[in-house]
Symmetry: C3
Subunit: 319 residues, 3 copies
């Protein structure tokens, strides 16, 4: 479904700078854009890349000008971005049961109540995959060999992405997918959201316990263990052999090294280098946190001791 630059501008409330009849056939980030594509530049840096790209037109905010590209100028580029994704990427629909486009090998054991949307182009369900009852697989998910997914888990639902637009939260269409590598096991009632753009990836051999949340564009390395009810916010990347205890929370956009271990219920707000053990909320290296935990036990007594010193030195009691 091609659109002219003028049609797009009308839908997203912008103004064309250049030939309004320019035909646009798709949308892509600058580094993957091809002739006919529309792309998007939030700031000078991105605009430079967009100008160098093969894209035919660029959505811009503010006063950029170009001799190379047709521009569609808008007042808020992120809102325009959300609108334009919805135009170029209409939502794939579910058909009951297994979508006819899904290639399911004879060795896969797919419960008849599992729902499988259209699988990704050039991909198929792996060999010896086990999908238990009431699993839902959204469109374009890729599932490797010997993956097991327990009942109630939902793979590939929309990530939680909105942009504020005059007092309401406008949805940013989530057009990425989920890739699950071989030998992954996913427990019951887990949620793995598909990427906003690009994939959410569960690395080879990783094991995910029940009720875990994996947000959009998270990347899990190989052989990670994610214990029950942990949650990983958007775009955080984990190395390999990472272990997250139960109910751990990781903030978004973090980089967690290889062989990192995070103790149960910790809340991580910073990158963690390889092989460290972190604990507590806000999470810290475990030795440091444990010294604070022990000190905290002595805190009520410390207050008493400081008051005794103050008295001895003739200080007034604190208000």
């Amino acid at each position: 479904m091609p659109f002219s630059a003028a049609e797009i501008a009308k839908i997203i409330g912008g103004e064309v700078v250049g030939d309004p009849a320019t035909i646009l056939t798709g949308f892509a980030p600058a580094d993957r854009a091809q002739a006919g594509d529309l792309t998007f530049a939030e700031n000078e840096n991105y605009f430079g890349r967009a100008e160098q790209s093969a894209a035919s037109a660029v959505i811009v905010e503010g006063s950029f000008t170009s001799t190379k590209k047709v521009l569609i100028r808008v007042s808020n580029a992120r809102i325009a971005f959300a609108k334009v994704l919805a135009i170029f990427f209409p939502e794939p629909t579910f058909t009951p049961g297994i979508h006819p486009s899904a290639v399911v090998p004879a060795t896969a054991n797919v419960d008849p109540t599992a729902h499988i949307g259209p699988l990704g182009a050039n991909s198929q369900l792996g060999e010896e995959v086990n999908l238990f009852p009431n699993v839902t697989i959204y469109a374009r998910t890729e599932i490797g060999n010997r993956v097991r997914i327990h009942s109630g888990s939902v793979i590939g639902a929309d990530g939680f992405g909105y942009v504020q637009d005059v007092g309401m939260h406008r949805k940013i269409p989530q057009i990425g997918n989920v890739i699950i590598r071989e030998d992954v096991e996913i427990g019951a009632n887990v949620t793995v959201d598909r990427g906003a753009l690009g994939p959410t990836i569960i690395g080879k051999g990783s094991k995910i316990d029940n009720l875990v949340q994996i947000a959009h564009n998270v990347v899990l390395g190989e052989h990670c263990l994610i214990v029950s009810q942990a949650g990983i916010a958007g775009s955080t990347k984990l190395g390999s052999y990472v272990v997250l205890g139960g109910q751990v929370g990781l903030a978004g956009h973090l980089k967690i090294g290889n062989r990192v271990q995070v103790a149960a219920q910790s809340g991580v707000m910073h990158d963690i280098p390889d092989s460290q053990k972190w604990i507590w909320t806000p999470a810290q290296p475990d030795r440091q946190a444990k010294r604070q935990m022990i000190a905290m036990q002595q805190l009520p007594d410390l207050l008493r001791r400081v008051r005794a010193l103050e008295k001895k030195l003739g200080e007034e009691p604190p208000k």
Copy 2:
């Protein structure tokens, strides 16, 4: 199904004070009771309202007397209340798929595996509603226009309400419902319980991430963002534009103002005024909490410093 006061008294183990043949056709709180209704008074305050109401009979605990109403006197009014609800509000049954009473507009995209119980009287599923596979909608839920509910979410299950009765937890039938206003999006594997009495409400434009728990009689204002794995306990009311971070917990019966922001993993045990940012467990205003977090990092060193002062002043070391 009308009952006589005597029949009700027999079922709930009470004694009729007044005409035992009085016919009772329903049960309602005092402020909504009509002639023929039975109502319920736990204390003097409620008893006053019950006497002023149009109800025909009142369940009471203790020594109340009335010249206006038939009383059914019991030893524990809450237990009697639980029993009487079960009599007047038998559980609606599910029928496979979409209940014949549900009015589903042609623009709604309801996956055939979604389950929809009988919808509320005078209500219907809104226009352009999207229910993804394996969604369950319990009876009498009301869903506004353009609502999206992702796979595995359960809307309208029983709230968690019991009353202790001789060593066991007697169920308080949950006879309210869930109302979801327009433009709400609900992620995957979310649970929104129906009200005990009256509705649980998700305000217009609010967005709820995966694995969130919304308990009975919670009210969310408009355009709230509730991030993954947060939980809101019973009867808590949120204003508009509230943001709850991931894994936040709100205690029950709180009042959270407009534009409040609560940081991830915080545990809120108090009301929060408009526009404040709270953090930590137990949650506090963020500046106050951050000063404590920073101070805690210095605590092990502080212990050493206080000991040095004590030494200088000839104090014994603490045991």
Copy 3:
């Protein structure tokens, strides 16, 4: 399906000490092993029991010798154990809907979308059981009278059990089951994993709120209340009348006494004696924790006060 000791040794990469033609017909822990069974000994203690048992052969690690039993010697007994379970206990398959072996009494209200695997030998679904839409019951689960299980809950999925084997996590087949006693209510989207060996048990009259995780081999006593999003790690045992607040986490292998109450969001890492109230992360008896919470509020001020004392005594400021 009987195997010879030589066949087993070949599959698990071990060496037979004794008659390689010994026929093995099953696998069991030493205390339940019968003639023909293979059993397993990780250390001297277990080896002593295995030798006393009726088992015909024992998997051992290291240099044990026996005049009574055929041994299969391996380099890592836990890995061999995981492999041998997979041989003797092939995974039961789901059939759509209710498995033909499941005995469902007429009084049970089982939604047609609920999935029920083959139920345990000599067991059946209880009277007046309610399974709401999209519930999944894995094989061999036992469900008592008047149990209610809300939509989306998954009973009996695999516990989270792996053993590290040359850089990958080898699955330990989970061959136990789940037993739910009478009068239990389970909320929506709950997960109760089946035992690794032996059962996970939910005691009579216990009530479990939405999105709770119960790991393998947990035992809940009678009349417990487990509030939403709490999680109980593997093999932890709870007494009766225990109350866990929302989002509580219990570590594995703990013993929690009768009538214990744990406040919301607490993280419990130790056994708790009867009737205590614990709070906070790491959880402590509530009076002790509350004194620390109050003291922490004074901590920023305490730092200032200690600095004032140091100044008075001519101490250098801390770096």
